[in-house]
Amino acid sequence: MSTIWTLAKKDLLLLSRDKLALFWMLLFPFVFAVFFGAIFGGQGDGSSNRIKVAVVQEGLDAGKEAFLARLDDRPVELVRVPRAEAADLVRRGKASAYLDLVRVPADAFAVFRGETAEIELGIDPSRLAERGMLEGFLAEASFGGLREVFTDRAAGIAAARKAREDLSVGEDVPLAQRVVLATFFASLETFFGAIDFTRGDAGGANPMAGPAIRTVDVTRARSGPLNAYDVSFPQAILWGLLGCAAGFAQTFVRERSSGTLVRLWTAPIGRSTVLLGKALACAIAAAGIVVVLLAAGALTFGVGVSRPATLALAIAASAFCFGGVSVLLSTIGRTEQANAGIAWGLLCLLAMIGGGMVPQFVMPAWMRQIGAVSPVRWAIEALEGGIWRSYSIGEVLVPVAALLGFGAAGMVAGMLRLRRI
């Protein structure tokens, strides 16, 4: 063990003096994170702008359907689901919120009878922006065009008067109806003058203020990223890790070409020890890269840590994974150029399908499935689990297991290949 550490320490010392390698491992990823963070930042979080809302399908009558129809031109995507599934969808992040239209008055004028809509809105309490937006949409829908009129008393009076005056000059309304409407608008004018609905002194709740929306807190397991940098930093960190794996593979080939490898082979240590030393150095450097980049992200763009324990586990697993991957990459190519070319080609492919270039959530489903063969995908998920997805230890175990698997496979494959070389 102390020999492995001796070997690793030597590699870390060499790394600390290799400006170019440090550039690829730290500065390049940081620039990447800032660049893509800025780009995504311009379009919200980069995902579709429509808020996905699950609507409880039980008891949807004509009035409720009409209510939902009024949400149509809003950036809301409605999916009808059974009551039993609604909250779960939100919890799993498949929908931003769920709606249960408990009671929706049949017509807009029902407010005059003191009837208001009663709606259950299930949403993660931390998703303040979406919640505010949805409440606004629901209020709009429940009053249709009347809402504005009834919440502004002066405007209401003016509107009622104008409606009555228009009526008196208009010719195309039959006389009988004109009389009825004139009476209605006149009384409406009086009505507004007499009662201030907006102050809510008509007894208890102010029906004009909006539908009674009862918000149900559904803490979402995977809450959304708080800002675009929450997405771009994990991606960038992966680039740092890829640079790290490729860089350590390079140092191995350099040992071969510079002759120091023969000295290692003739030292009283096993060949696998030499590779384990490389893997350990790579893993330590990888963990360092994650910590440094996250710290830089936190200081400059407020990238947060939602679950420190999850993040720690994710970092350890990612470090192990890329340590193992570097061992396999070490055995590729006899010259530094060949090694760098093949290793980076492979890593770029893994990054591409694993969401290191374009985030996975904007990929089509089939592409996301292919991504499972890339350790990049699992490392991003694990890191995001600690950064903004708020994974519990249990939830991060799948990506962590995948990372450990990739790392172990890389190490074993590398050692087997080395035995043949």
Binding site: T3, L7, L14, G259, V262, R263, T266, A267, I269
Partner: protein, 297 residues
């Protein structure tokens, strides 16, 4: 100490080592003298277990197989191609290789200090070796192989590409190691080095050991005649009887009495621009064994 029996190694169609038998006694310095490509480095790597032979065996008497790490701890190897970390200082290189050899703490520090003194690098110990001269790098390359005081030291062209001063320094270091009782295998294509340092010299060419003996015995057996080299001024008359072949306008031959031979050539009508008479040395031994000069080979 080291016995190589019937060693053979091929790289594709090329036979690099072609049935080498050698035995190195404890405490002796054995030279492998041969031109570039003779198979010296390959032989050393086979002895170390870095390469696997196609045939033959390597025995480290009293030590075991070089596959065993504990046996490797008693071996030292200075590769022909410099094997040091250029981004690290001499100190850091030596500490690293010392630790790999199992040295720790005070033993390690003492070994590093001694090695630095032996290599004459004490003043530059904290500088990156990338800034060193070729000779300094060579000295460090040797120091990295010797700091754990190995019983058997394999040195592959340890003076390649160094200035005369560093070469002398290296010679003194190696003589000091030999005086301590270290068994040394030393490869070179410089006969002067073999003559100065080695108790016995193996003449190697095309992967074979052509002769192996002490320098004096080799000279007696194969190089007793001085060599005459004559740079001809004009083509010799067709009737002339020549004692050797003409290459590039030079006539070369070995002869016991150079004066008589030259007088005879003059009598035959040969004219020369210059002439050189060489006393017998390993060069002449090599010439006699291979028909080629060590320098030209």
């Amino acid at each position: 100490m080291l016995r190589l029996t019937g060693l053979r190694k091929t790289f594709g169609a090329l036979v690099a080592v072609d049935g080498v038998d050698l035995e190195v006694a404890p405490g002796e310095t054995l030279g492998l003298l041969g031109p570039n490509g003779a198979g010296k480095s390959t032989t050393i790597k086979l002895a170390l277990g870095v390469l696997d032979p196609d045939a033959g065996s390597v025995e480290l008497a009293g030590l075991g197989s070089p596959r065993d790490p504990d046996v490797r701890r008693r071996l030292g190897y200075a590769p022909q191609d410099l094997a040091i970390y250029e981004e690290l200082s001499a100190d850091e290189n030596l500490r690293f290789f010392g630790r790999l050899q199992g040295l720790h703490g005070r033993d390690l520090s003492r070994a590093v200090d001694e090695a630095l003194a032996l290599a004459g690098l004490v003043d530059r110990r904290r500088d990156r070796t990338g800034t060193y001269s070729g000779g300094m790098k060579r000295r460090l390359n040797l120091a990295c192989a010797t700091l754990h005081a190995p019983a058997l030291l394999l040195l592959d062209e340890p003076t390649a590409g160094v200035d005369p001063q560093s070469r002398n320094h290296l010679f003194e270091s190696i003589e000091a190691l030999a005086a301590r009782g270290t068994t040394i295998v030393y490869t070179t294509h410089y006969m002067e080095e073999a003559e100065r340092l080695c108790d016995r010299v193996a003449i190697v060419d095309h992967g074979r050991v052509l002769a192996c003996d002490s320098v004096d015995s080799l000279l007696a057996a194969h190089g007793s005649q001085p060599v005459v080299e004559v740079e001809l001024a004009e083509l010799p008359p067709a009737s002339a009887k020549l004692p050797g072949p003409i290459e590039d306008g030079r006539l070369r031959f070995g002869v016991d009495e150079p004066e008589l031979a030259l007088a005879e050539l003059r009598a035959q009508g040969l004219r020369w621009r210059s002439l050189r008479v060489q006393r017998a040395d390993l060069e002449t031994v090599f010439l006699e064994l291979t028909g080629r000069s060590l320098r030209d080979a």
